[in-house]
Structures are given as structure tokens and as C-alpha cells.
């Protein structure tokens, strides 16, 4: 118990000293809070049209203005945050849940045919441009948030599989793994009990990066009309809808654009910060 207590403040102190971590964490929490807020409260119904009050600028009633149908942009941004986060979260979840076990398995069977098959299958997925496959999937199964999740998720699998395998391979040569083998533990047990806890840092850092990429990918799919379908708002779709009106109401493009930029920036900074914190070699000396 003492060790735990003495260790955790060290991590926290380092966390609070890392500028990237603090800024990233603040930005990320704002987005997550916005998404959570939309579950219980939005200033207006995001789908309610109010044609007489369309294309209004930033006012006290409509903080971010209204779009061409008179819908409240602030409400749409809040609900859009929810769409982005849910899509990216599940997509990264798919990547971790399938990719990590595959990587652990490949590392446990390193040098065998199975390892080779897993690696080549990863190469195969990597060989296709992610967006192209996403377009293909939505073309076959129809557009929608679920298909967007699947499409983005598939491309997270090889990322986590490779990362896990590489990190696990270096651990497999450690003496404590040898000791576990002498204790009669088989490869799957060693993978779960010794390898996984020791590579968790790496996976957490990579998850934040993949999460931001997932949000970007969702926005891109929604922008070309292959993401969430109307009337569910999505930042990418808001961008696409505002395209023809950029001259008339530039804030309609700027606001969802800024939301995407700040979220991705926040998650990347968070990932950077986490890496600094977890990496004992960088210690607290940086920043």
C-alpha cells in the first residue's frame, strides 16, 4: 500500500508540470463536458427549424447564430460533439479490443507462421487508403454512423496490433518473462499477466492519438455525406452544409471547423503529455 501511495503523487506532480498534458486535458474535458451536457440540456431543439430567424449572426438568444433553416448552431455543436466522441470512441475501442490481442498473440508466437499471417494481414489493411475503404463500406451497406464506426474501427486494428507486437517483443526477452516460464506459465497467461500491464502506457498514449484521428475521419466521412444522417448533427456535416454560404455567413463554417481543430489539438497534446509523464527517462525535467 505504501508504495502505491508514494508513487501516485509523483505521477500527478509530473502531470501538472507538463504543459502539454494540462492544456490537452482542459481542451479534452471541455469537449467531453459539452457532449455530456447535450444529453440533458441544449438551449434549443437542435432539429427545430425556424425559417424566419435563419442565418442570424452571433446574438444573445443564439450564441453561435442560426443556420439556413434557422436551427440553433450552439445546440448542433453540443450534439455534434456527442456524435464525434461516440463514433471515435467506439472506433478506437474496436482497434484496441481486436488489435491488442492480435499483437499479443503474434508476439507470443513470434517467428512462426501465425505471426507472419497476422503481420501480412495488417499490411493488407494498411495498404488501402482508409477513407477509400470507408467509402466502399458505406457504399455497400449504406451511409450511417454505425457504418462509419466500423470503417474507422477497421483501420485502428493494425495500428494497435503492430504497436502491441513491437512493445511485447522487447518484453519477451526480459528475464522476468523467463522466470514466469520457469514457473510453468503458458504464453497466453504471460501475455495477460506480465506483458499487457507493462505495455499499457504505450497503448494509452496511442489511444489518444487514434481518438483524435477518429474524430477527423468521422468529420471527413460526414463531410462527404457518409457519416451520421440528418437530422443528427455532426461537425463534418455542418461544415459541408455551410460550404455554399461561406460568403454570406462565414461563422457557419468557422465554428464547427474550430471545434474540430480544438478537439484534435487537445487530444494530441494530451497524448504528448501522457507520453512525457509515462516515460521515466524524460522525468520531470522537461518543461
Amino acid at each position: 500500500m505504501e508504495a502505491m501511495v508514494s508513487r501516485s503523487p509523483g505521477l500527478w506532480q509530473r502531470a501538472l508540470r507538463s504543459r502539454s498534458f494540462v492544456i490537452g486535458a482542459v481542451l479534452t474535458s471541455i469537449i467531453v463536458l459539452a457532449a455530456a451536457l447535450s444529453l440533458v440540456w441544449t438551449p434549443y431543439n437542435y432539429a427545430a427549424q425556424d425559417i424566419p430567424h435563419r442565418l442570424m449572426g452571433l446574438t444573445a438568444e443564439h450564441w453561435f447564430g442560426t443556420d439556413q433553416y434557422g436551427r440553433d448552431v450552439f445546440s448542433q455543436i453540443l450534439v455534434g460533439a456527442r456524435t464525434s466522441i461516440v463514433v471515435a470512441l467506439i472506433a478506437v475501442g474496436i482497434g484496441i479490443l481486436i488489435g491488442t490481442p492480435l499483437g499479443l498473440w503474434a508476439a507470443a508466437k513470434r517467428g512462426t507462421l501465425l505471426d507472419e499471417v497476422i503481420l501480412r494481414a495488417n499490411d493488407l489493411v494498411f495498404a488501402f487508403p482508409a477513407l477509400l475503404i470507408a467509402v466502399l463500406i458505406t457504399a455497400v451497406f449504406g451511409p450511417g454512423a454505425i457504418n462509419a464506426i466500423i470503417a474507422i474501427g477497421i483501420f485502428n486494428i493494425p495500428v494497435f496490433a503492430r504497436l502491441t507486437r513491437a512493445a511485447a517483443l522487447s518484453l519477451w526477452t526480459a528475464d522476468f518473462i523467463l522466470a514466469a516460464r520457469v514457473a510453468g506459465k503458458n504464453a497466453s497467461r504471460i501475455s495477460v499477466e506480465h506483458i499487457l500491464p507493462n505495455i499499457l502506457n504505450t497503448l494509452v498514449v496511442q489511444s489518444t492519438i487514434q481518438f483524435s484521428l477518429g474524430i477527423l475521419a468521422e468529420a471527413a466521412l460526414a463531410y462527404v455525406g457518409l457519416g451520421a444522417q440528418p437530422p443528427i448533427p455532426s461537425w463534418g456535416k455542418m461544415l459541408a452544409d455551410s460550404q455554399t454560404l461561406v460568403g454570406l455567413a462565414p461563422q457557419l463554417a468557422l465554428i464547427p471547423g474550430l471545434a474540430i481543430v480544438l478537439t484534435v489539438l487537445g487530444l494530441n497534446l494530451l497524448g504528448d503529455g501522457l507520453r512525457d509523464i509515462f516515460d521515466p527517462r524524460l522525468g520531470g525535467s522537461r518543461r
Binding site: 500500500m1 505504501e2 508504495a3 526480459a174 528475464d175 522476468f176 523467463l178 522466470a179 514466469a180 516460464r181 520457469v182 514457473a183 510453468g184 506459465k185 497467461r189 506480465h194 500491464p197 507493462n198
Partner: protein
Amino acid sequence: MSLLSVSGLNVTIGATPILRDVSLSVEPGRVLGVIGESGAGKSMTALAIMGLLPAGARADGAAILEGADLLGKSEREMCTIRGRDIGMVFQEPATALDPLQTIGQQVAETILVHTGASRRDALVEADRALARAGLSQEHFPRDRFPHDLSGGQRQRVVIASAIALRPKLLIADEPTTALDVTTQARVIALFRSLVDEEGMGLIFITHDLALVTGLADDIAVMRSGEIVDGGATREVFRSLAHPYTRQLFEASSHVPVRDPALRGGAPVLEVTDVARDYLRPPRRVFGPPGAFRAVDGVSFSIGRGENVGLVGESGSGKSTLARAILGLDRVQAGSIVIDGTALDDSDRATRRKVQAVFQDPYGSFDPRQRVDTLVTEPFHLLGNEAPRGAERRQRAEAALETVGLNVADVDKYIHEFSGGQRQRIAIARALIIEPKLIVLDEAVSALDVSVRAQILDLLAELSDRLSISYLFISHDLGVVRAITDRVLVMKAGKIVETGRTDKVFASPQHPYTRELIAAAPSLSRALAG
């Protein structure tokens, strides 16, 4: 006048003092041995002299090399001195050389940096330096790459580039620790001849007392940042005036007390005609894979409570054999029988009779688990019979007590322990399921001499009390001699000699055994000679 005289050298990192009032001097044509245990400040002293202290470290005092104070020099001035006036040889020859440059280029580099010589002249000079280091041009042309050479030959290349410009002072920091005994003996002879013939001063840093006694003219004994004893080597070791020197000396030649009556009886391990092959990549694209026989027709047995040593140089197949006995690798031929049952990697009942302790006290534990989880890991081999809950904890505590640790230590993490304590925990982990045989693979090699003596005592006591047998694998003949009853000498995958330890050491039969024993540094021989 001294070549180098260091006086009142203090080094601090932040507020922590690292070196306190270190004073030593090196004469031309003489060897100063600096000895001490890890953390004594030996390497730090060398780095301070070279002006290579880590960032944040501050040095004061004086280090006068031929009238000029090295500590007062700027980094730019030190760059012209390093390599030209002071050469340095580090511990690890594998990483000290650039793998993509030929050995000639690497030696020539020092010459090019410090003299205006043309590339061609530098290469000719490099040839000469390599020849001085014992790599003649006929056998080792300068266009060889480091991977073409063995560890000892690589260390010669490092030495060649250190002495290329005939520096007045050479600093060698544990230069032979990574080498086999026979190679070590040759490299030591090379150092001696360089000092004698070229009049260089040599600072030789080591933890190995026997080694330094045979080489050094003068000696400085360091402990926690201070020099505690020094003088002419013979006198220091003959008189043993300082208690710490005496303590080091006794720990180095320590022989644990054992009860000879307990050994023998039914064999716990019988190895018969075991062979182990490693696959090599095929020579042709679709050709059959080649094979390398690492263990070749090895047979021996270990009786109950018997301690058997396995010695040989790196690559002789010692560790491969150990892995096969532990059931980690499958053998290609022969049989391994443990306590009457043939070893089968899925048979837990047999595997639980053999446990292991490895060399590296820092790498052999999962850093994220507590000691109670670490120590009870072998319970996995007991399957459903494994103790749980309170009994499990009790067993963990009992195992820690057996190896002389505190019961309260079960809740700590491994990073809270020193190297010697970790090796005790490793032994506790091996003992917890009451095995018949423990394989100790270089288990004391990474420990300081005084800690090593304690661990050897513990092992001897456990062997007597619990009638456990050991297979003690080591390259350190002194340790093998101290703790084993019988010894096996392995060379190129075969056992070339076997017999009672005292007899083998007194009258070795096989030429290879003789070579090994002659090459091993020995305190008594060095002091008698």
C-alpha cells in the same frame, strides 16, 4: 614527478556529494588499480579526469597532467587533450565501435581529429596502432568490420584507437568485464606490455580484486566516493591494514562452510546424450534450413544435495543446456530425467522439481507486481493444489524469512530493493515450491564481492538444510571452486572434463581446463608471484 596527480577532487551532482577529497597519482610506466564496489565513485573519478562528467555535475580540486590542471580547461581545450594525451577504454566492446565503419577507419579517426595527417597516412598509422594492440595486418586487415571480430578482438580495436597517438595516460574502466577468462588474460597481458614498453601511465578501474592484484603496481581502494586505502599493491594486500580492504579481500576469497556428510544418494537429475540444435537461415532462397548444434551429446547426473558447477566460455552451450533442463526448450536428442521422471514441458509435477535463479537482479522481476505476487509465481506449477489466501501469504512470508529478508517486505515493489536483496528474492521465488534442483545461471556474477559472499553463504546453508541440489553455471572459476562439489567443463557444446572440484582444480586433465584455470585471475597466485 607524477604524470597525473589528482588532489582534493570533489564532485557534486546538485546537492549530493559524489566524490569527496579524492587524491591519487599515476607515474609513467606504472599501473594504478582503482578498486571498489558499485557506487564507490570509480567511474566518476575517471570521467572527472576526462572532463566528461554528466550534466549538472560540478567538480573542484585539481587534476594536474604534466603541469596543466585539467579541471580548469574549457571543453574545447579538453577536446584536443582527450584522445591525444589521455586515451580511454570502456567496458563494453560491443557498443564502443560503430558497426558500419571498418576497424581501420575507426582507429584512423582519432589520428585525423588530432593531427593534420592525410587520410592515407592516418590509415597507415592506424595499421601500426592495430599491430601494437595485437591485431597484425596479415590476420586482421584494416578493412574488417566489427562484426567480423570476437569480443576480445573488438576490445583490442578499442585499445588500438585509444593508444594510436601514444597518449601519456590511458584510463581503462572495467575493460575486461564483458570478456571470457582466457580472452581477459590476453587483454591484461596486452595492457601490461603497453605500459612497460611505451612508458604510458594506466589507470585500471575494476571491481575484481584478483585481476587488479596481478596487474597493478599501485592501488587505490574506493568506498562511497572516498579513497580509503592505497599504496603499492603488494604492501596493501600483505598488510591489509585498512578494515575495508581486509573486508573486500576476505569477501573475494570467501569459501562458504558446508557439511560434507549430506551429499549423494539418488540422482535428482540425469541428462543422457542431450543434443540441442538451433536452426540457421537457409543458404539458398528455398533451400533447407541449416542447423547449429549448441549442445552436443551431453551426459551427466546430479545427486541429491549435490552442488555441481558448469563452467565454460560464452557460446559453449552452458545456458542452452540450462534452458533445456528447465523445460524451456525442446531437445533434439537424448533424455532429461528429473527425480526418476522424464521431463515433459506439459508435466507440471516434474517441472515443479526444478527452479531457476538468473543473472540480472534488475531484469528478473516484473516491475508492476508486489513481492508476494512475484515470490508465489511458481505456485502456478501446483495447479489446483496451490495454496490460496492466508496460506499463500504465509508461504510467501516464510520464503522471505528463509532467505534472510523481512516478513513486511511482501507488500513492497521490487524497485525498493538493492541488487543483493533482489537476488535473495529470486532465491525465495525458486525455493517456494520446494524444488529438488535449482539452476543458478550466473546468479552471483552481477553482485559486488561482499554481497556475493553473503549470497554464497545463504546458498550453501540452504543446500545443507533443505538438501537441495544446485547446477551452478558460471564463468567465474573462483566462485565455482568455492561452492561446488563437482565441476563440468564445457567447450563447444561438449563436456570435456568432469570430476570433483578440488581434483579438477588441482590437476586439470584436459588442455582446455588447464587453459581456463591458468587464465583465471587468482589472488593467492598474484600475491605469491
